[in-house]
Symmetry: C2
Subunit: 227 residues, 2 copies
């Protein structure tokens, strides 16, 4: 859609929102980032997938990449529960080497690929440089990340652990890592972590529609009046 038309349509649709709603949309938009993104591989517990999306949404991460495996039904169930409403979810289906496709696309966009791996050779999270955009890879509940994912990663990080248990629940790992990294990002004024104006406009157009009942009717009316 033509960018000017999209902006005008957004402004038109915004007139149907309360001031509070409009304020919230813009506040959240200013805090959104794609500088950090999350890739989850073959999760099989619906509540984990939902919790991962919820944590990403809470800290302001816009994109979540879902690499399907044997358990894609659970993913669709989580999505159906609306956990993804405000996020940009990208699916990679198991037919086409999903993890490698995902990593290839993210590298092409300039992301540094970081596998989360509780392993002696992994760096600790707080040593991870954030100047370059980072995509964190998280593996399935039981077996962790696939070898293909680990091999394709630029580096690996781990969360410090001091007990007998040698891993966190997957959604807890995501929560610890994204909350820590996004906070670090927000404190670092030299990193341009916010969305571009174009990205903000596209997202706002989407969110405004999601905040209105039957937006398509209003859009139709607006376009008809334009003639």
């Amino acid at each position: 859609m033509d960018k000017t038309l999209q902006k005008n349509l957004t402004a038109f649709l915004e007139t149907f929102l309360t001031e509070e709603r409009k304020f919230l949309l813009h506040k959240v938009l200013e805090n959104r980032t794609r500088h950090i993104t999350v890739v989850v591989e073959d999760l099989y517990q619906t509540q984990n997938i939902s919790a991962v999306m919820r944590s990403c949404e809470c800290v302001g991460i816009q994109d979540v990449h879902i690499v399907e495996g044997e358990n894609d039904f659970q993913i669709h169930k989580a999505i159906a529960m609306g956990a993804d409403k405000w996020l940009t979810i990208k699916h990679y289906q198991k037919e086409n080497a999903p993890m490698l496709t995902c990593i290839k696309e993210l590298k092409a966009k300039g992301y540094s690929i970081v596998a989360t791996l509780p392993d002696d050779n992994s760096h600790f999270l707080d040593e991870l440089p954030l100047e370059k955009p980072v995509a964190f890879l998280f593996g399935t509940e039981l077996s962790g990340l696939s070898k293909a994912a680990i091999d394709a990663a630029d580096q690996t990080v781990k969360i410090p652990m001091y007990g007998f248990t040698n891993s966190f629940n997957i959604s807890n790992s995501v929560a610890i890592i994204v909350s820590q990294c996004v906070e670090k990002l927000r404190r670092n004024s030299s990193i341009n972590w916010q969305l571009t104006e174009n990205e903000k406009n596209d997202l706002l157009f989407d969110w405004v529609q999601k905040s209105i009942n039957k937006p398509e009717l209003l859009i139709k009316r607006y376009l008809e009046e334009l003639g």
Copy 2:
């Protein structure tokens, strides 16, 4: 049990462990803390209770306080799953004003009671002083902490949030808060966060028995040989 006998028994039982096992027990012991503790109120999802215990164990927190409500069956189910094996779990049953009893006991032990509350008046987590031992209160999945708990708390903290969703999954909140605070604690050499020698000896005696098949038979034999 007499402390010297306990120490000798521990040493005797340790002779049945591999060097690796012994090393792990002592390493974990040196990293255990009661300076930070976690209180969960009336959780009803087994996987959340298990995930909370797992996160506490991972970061080195020894004590978890479980305040029962309507959903104590789920708690027993989680315990049955062994999530608590290496932890000291204290139950507060719903018959006797469990949360107030728990808070009273913790205050008597010198804990500062901190309710986690995503609220305008709450301080952010990183502003929380850790010189005094801290007990974090976490509420049930849907309704959060009870008013009784919030009223009895010394202060409230929140995790920064920037999205539409205004809370994390409960086990994710616990993971974010305990991992951040315990790391801060370990970096602060002026705080004496480790267990006392007495606490270490008691815990080691317990852990050594948990690392052996039928320890009671070995203990019986040892005591008989003592005569």
